[in-house]
């Protein structure tokens, strides 16, 4: 018999039933995340030969396929990683961004108030209230450094928290993907190669989630399982096996965490390979924004405390004593990574300071110092006995031992360590240490112009009388002046036209004005009782605008401005790049959804279409029965 209409009808009925079921499945999963629209593939059955030709015998459902585009999925994941990276970077950066230029929290306002207070003391050196104000402003400067340091510390902790959370998520996702791999492999094998679309969707969805945490790439295996790699190629899932990630503190900084891949033979640090996603963004923030900001702020703190203390120690306080430390200058503690020796590092000059970290390694009796910002060897190999002065730092290397290695972070903790040291307003050294007295009986008009003291080692400067002698050859070497009473040594610098008197307890630099006559004398002596003197305060106030940082190109305010600008620029770039990346991601989501997403209108139309086809197929069965009835009726 050629063709069985009943069977043909039946095949249509069951095919459209499958199509209707799938449409229903689509509608039900219209909002399921990661779901790909499915459709039933229908193929006409092989026809039957009936002499005159081939007669069709109906339809078969040959498979259910999901609308899925591997290329779009990959594009989505890379966009998703990039977006999450920028957004997490921006979220963290904007927390600093909002604070730095704020007048109540930023450093700028406190610096201004502090130096204004110095000038107020300079206006009225004997006023205890003005001195008290300076101490209070010094304290609030300390507080401001502390607050910012705390903010940066909090952000370090926040980054750590973010990493912990992401690592936990990564580990869960990896395990789930691995178990799905197992499931898919066994089901596919059991189902004769038929693919479980919904499980694939689930797995793809997990990989999508993974891409928000970190860059991800996948390789599909022949057996249906999927290998997943993160960052720049670290295997996370291989077939049914998931690796586990963990965190551990950095060797030289317990507060900073490294990402590690857990291995039976020992954990491998993979921080440097992690790019993209929330993890990449957080790591990038730490490296590009947080660390430089902390180091720069520390650089300001270190430089401020050193230069201020140095100038302060060249003055005399209200009691006539030499100025003590105004701030407790932050010390530099090298982190010893290996070895048995010891190393100490001290600030030599603040203009040379950089924000970079350094490493020092000692082998074969020699040491080598490397600056990490540009990875250049800045000292060595040099024998231990010879200490090195590099970038404003003195490395005391005498006690090194072979096999030592250190990491030195000169400015890292300085902002948190700077403290106001003076407590008594009378101990602020406002007066200069040296006093010049021109003999009233001089017949010429010679006098002292600028005068300053450096390297003061005691509050009392020995008295020296300098005399102008127009004829004496020895005196002429010093432009006519010489020490006539006292033990100091006078020298003259013809370039700067300034004199330098080394008294043995401090060096007095001065310039002379007017034209002296033969035999004129000027006495340079200590300034005891000079409570109304404001010369040292004057020098202290000048530090506000003196270019004491970055090789003598920047003031404290300039350096702080650099931090503000860098953070602001980074935040701005991250924000606009994030928006652009988000736009790209949206575009990819749309493209992906255009392929895989469920359109309810379409499903409604399909519902009608398949329902009508189903009805038609049942009509075929009815027709087949009618034909059969007609045949039976013919023999009745």
């Amino acid at each position: 018999m050629a063709g069985d209409l009943l069977l043909t009808g039946l095949s249509g009925l069951s095919a459209f039933r499958n199509a209707l079921d799938t449409t229903g499945h689509n509608i039900s999963n219209a909002t399921t995340e990661g779901y790909s629209r499915q459709s039933v593939r229908l193929d006409a059955r092989d026809p039957q030969f009936s002499g005159f030709g081939y007669v069709g015998v109906g339809v078969d459902s040959t498979g259910v396929t999901r609308a899925y585009n591997e290329f779009l999925a990959t594009q989505f994941r890379s966009s998703s990683s990039a977006t999450a990276d920028l957004e997490s970077y921006f979220d963290l950066t904007s927390q600093i961004d909002n604070v730095l230029a704020n007048e109540n929290v930023g450093l700028s306002g406190a610096l201004q108030s502090f130096f204004n207070a110095v000038q107020s003391v300079s206006d009225d050196p004997t006023s205890i209230p003005a001195r008290q104000v300076l101490l209070s402003e010094g304290e609030s400067l300390e507080d401001r450094f502390g607050t910012l340091d705390k903010l940066f510390d909090d952000l370090t902790i926040q980054v750590n928290g973010k990493l912990k959370e992401s690592v936990a998520d990564l580990n869960t996702l990896a395990e789930n993907i691995a178990s799905l791999n197992n499931k898919i492999v066994s089901i596919t094998g059991g189902g004769g190669g038929k693919i479980p679309n919904d499980l694939l969707d689930q797995r793809d969805n997990l990989v999508d989630q993974l891409s928000e945490k970190v860059n991800v790439s996948t390789v599909r295996q022949a057996d249906g399982s999927m290998n997943v790699f993160i960052g720049s190629g670290q295997a996370l899932v291989l077939n049914g096996e998931a690796s586990s990630l963990g965190l551990q503190p950095k060797g030289y900084d317990m507060r900073t965490l490294d990402l590690v891949l857990k291995q039976p033979v020992g954990d491998i640090i993979i921080t440097q390979f992690m790019t993209g996603g929330e993890i990449g963004g957080a790591l990038r923030f730490r490296e590009e924004v947080l660390d430089p900001s902390m180091n720069s702020l520390g650089q300001i703190a270190l430089s401020l405390s050193h230069t201020f203390n140095e100038q302060h120690s060249n003055g005399l306080d209200l009691n006539g004593a030499q100025g003590a430390d105004f701030f407790t200058a932050p010390s530099i503690t090298p982190n010893q990574l290996t070895g048995t020796g010891s190393l100490s590092v001290a600030v030599n000059n603040t203009t040379g300071l950089t924000t970079s970290d350094y490493t020092l390694t000692a082998t074969g009796g020699n040491y080598t110092i490397t600056r990490l910002s540009d990875n250049s060897v800045v000292a060595g190999p040099t024998a231990f006995a010879t200490s090195a002065t590099v970038d404003g730092l003195t490395f005391n290397t005498a006690t090194l031992a072979n096999g030592d290695s250190y990491r030195i972070r000169p400015t890292r903790d300085a902002a948190g360590d700077i403290k106001l040291s003076l407590k008594d307003p009378r101990t602020i050294a406002v007066a200069g240490a040296a006093l010049s007295t021109v003999n009233p009986l001089n017949s010429g008009s010679g006098g002292i112009g600028d005068i300053s003291v450096s390297g003061l080692s005691a509050s009392t400067i020995p008295s020296n009388t300098i005399t102008y002698d127009a004829s004496n050859a020895a005196y002429n070497a010093n432009n006519g002046y010489g020490v006539s009473t006292g033990t100091g040594t006078l020298s003259y610098n013809s370039t700067t036209k300034s004199y330098n008197l080394n008294t043995g307890s401090g060096t007095i630099d001065f310039t002379l004005t007017g034209s002296p006559a033969n035999g004129d004398t000027i006495v340079l002596s200590n300034n005891s009782g000079g409570v109304g003197d404001n010369r040292n305060a004057h020098f202290l106030a000048n530090l506000q605008t003196d270019l004491t940082l970055m090789g003598g190109t920047a003031s404290f305010q300039d350096t702080y401005g650099t931090i503000v600008a860098d953070v602001g620029r980074n935040a701005k770039a991250a924000e606009s790049n994030g928006l652009a990346q988000r736009g790209l991601l949206d575009q990819t989501i749309v493209s992906k959804a255009n392929v895989s997403g469920v359109n309810l209108d379409e499903e409604a139309a399909n519902l009608i279409r398949f329902q009508q086809a189903y009805q038609a197929a049942s009509q075929v069965i009815l027709t087949s029965r009618t034909i059969f009835d007609t045949l039976l009726g013919a023999f009745r």
Binding site: E103, N116, L435, H538, V564, G568, D586, G597, A604
Partner: protein, 416 residues
């Protein structure tokens, strides 16, 4: 190609658009309520650094103005003191001129000298003036200790301050001194012999000499401790007198002989009578002599300086004899003029500094204004632009919301 949209995504995209617009509205609202274009550095990184610099400049300018007012107050105070001092000294000068008149009896001169002593005390207290903060104005750096000590009683005056002058910052790279050291104002005035003399010494000397009824003319005192040796000479007013103890007559050519008496007093009396009898050579001042025991005082008849030649002669290096030329009142007057001149000089300096401060004040104000203008240009919001932007954003947010509701109402299922 027919573009099929995922229904749930279309909904999500609609919501995203609304959220985005809400964020924009929010940001503009924040800008408007703060009136600022730059709310955080990332809004304009270079602008916000410029703002930090401008704020520092403003804060420094405010401090400069404080310093400037400080200097002004101190200089004004100093100016007042210097004025009082000047008028004090001018009064002393009037008194001195009055006292020089020979018509005054000794008692009158003494009463004038009493006033000068009082003026001296007043001058001392003026020189020891403290400023509003309790610092001595003319002590140099040693502002905590009284700089001028001494009194009309002792007649010994000293300056315990130093030559220090304090400078204040009144502008970027602009410093100005807020006073003068007392040594410059009251001490270290050179007298005609090149020695340092204070204005106090001058007043004391003037008052003392007046009280002692010293004449206004130059005078010289010749004191004879022992009788002079034979043939020693003394030159007074260009005339050589030779002392003779053995009646051998003049051995020095042209000398007038003075016979040595039994004791120095007698010799002085003999000298007086010989000097009185000698005709004054041309070009020399007529003199009046007075003798008391072993002293001969020679006074010029004409008031003023340079009337007498100094006494010279071998007797001065000989027999324990000596002469002094006492400071006449006119020297005091000259010294007083020097002191007044110094005061006027210092007052002129103070006045010049006050002028400089006034112009610096104006400069600072101008600078401040221009900084504030720049700051406003960078930081402040263009309100008109912001409000119209705000309205536009509100309108488009509303449109997005309405469109969302409309689109979501469309579904084929509604038609089934």
């Amino acid at each position: 190609m027919i573009n099929r949209l995922s229904t749930s995504l279309a909904q999500q995209l609609g919501i995203n658009t609304i959220l985005l617009q809400q964020a924009e509205v929010n940001e503009t609202q924040l800008q408007i309520s703060l009136g600022k274009r730059i709310v955080k550095p990332s809004d304009d990184p270079s602008g916000s650094v410029q703002l930090l610099d401008l704020k520092q400049s403003l804060s420094r300018l405010d401090q400069f103005q404080d310093n400037l007012n400080y200097a002004k107050n101190r200089l004004s105070l100093s100016e007042g003191i210097l004025q009082s001092t000047t008028s004090n000294l001018q009064r002393v000068r009037e008194l001195a001129v009055q006292g020089f008149s020979d018509t005054n009896a000794g008692a009158d001169k003494e009463s004038i000298s009493l006033e000068i002593f009082q003026r001296l005390d007043e001058l001392l207290s003026l020189a020891n003036t403290k400023d509003a903060n309790g610092d001595y104005l003319y002590a140099g750096f040693k502002a905590g200790a009284e700089p001028f000590s001494g009194s009309a009683k002792t007649g010994v005056f000293s300056y315990d301050g130093d030559q220090g002058v304090r400078y204040l910052n009144v502008g970027d790279n602009r410093t100005i001194s807020d006073g003068n050291a007392g040594s410059e104002v009251f001490f270290n005035l050179k007298d005609k012999d090149g020695n340092a003399e204070s204005v106090f010494d001058t007043l004391y000397g003037l008052a003392t000499d007046l009280a002692n009824n010293k004449p206004a003319a130059e005078e010289a005192v010749f004191t004879l401790a022992n009788n002079p040796a034979d043939n020693t000479t003394l030159i007074i007013n260009g005339v050589t007198y030779e002392f003779d103890s053995n009646s051998s007559g003049a051995t020095v050519s042209g000398a007038t002989v003075v016979t040595v008496g039994a004791n120095p007093a007698a010799t002085i009396a003999a000298l007086k009578s010989v000097v009185d009898a000698t005709t004054v050579p041309s070009g020399q001042s007529a003199v009046t002599t007075s003798a008391s025991t072993n002293q001969l005082t020679i006074t010029a008849n004409t008031a003023g300086e340079e009337q007498l030649n100094a006494l010279t002669g071998t007797v001065l290096s000989g027999n324990g004899s000596a002469t002094t030329v006492s400071i006449p009142l006119y020297d005091h007057l000259d010294q007083l003029d020097t002191a007044i001149g110094r005061l006027l000089e210092v007052r002129a300096q103070v006045g010049a500094r006050l002028n400089v401060l006034d112009s610096q004040d104006a400069t600072n104000q101008d600078f401040k204004l221009s900084i504030e203008k720049t700051q406003s240009n960078i930081e402040d919001l263009d309100m008109a632009e912001a409000i119209s932007r705000f309205n536009l954003q509100l309108a488009s947010l509303q449109a997005a919301q309405q469109a969302f509701v409309r689109v979501q109402g469309l579904s084929l299922f509604n038609q089934l």
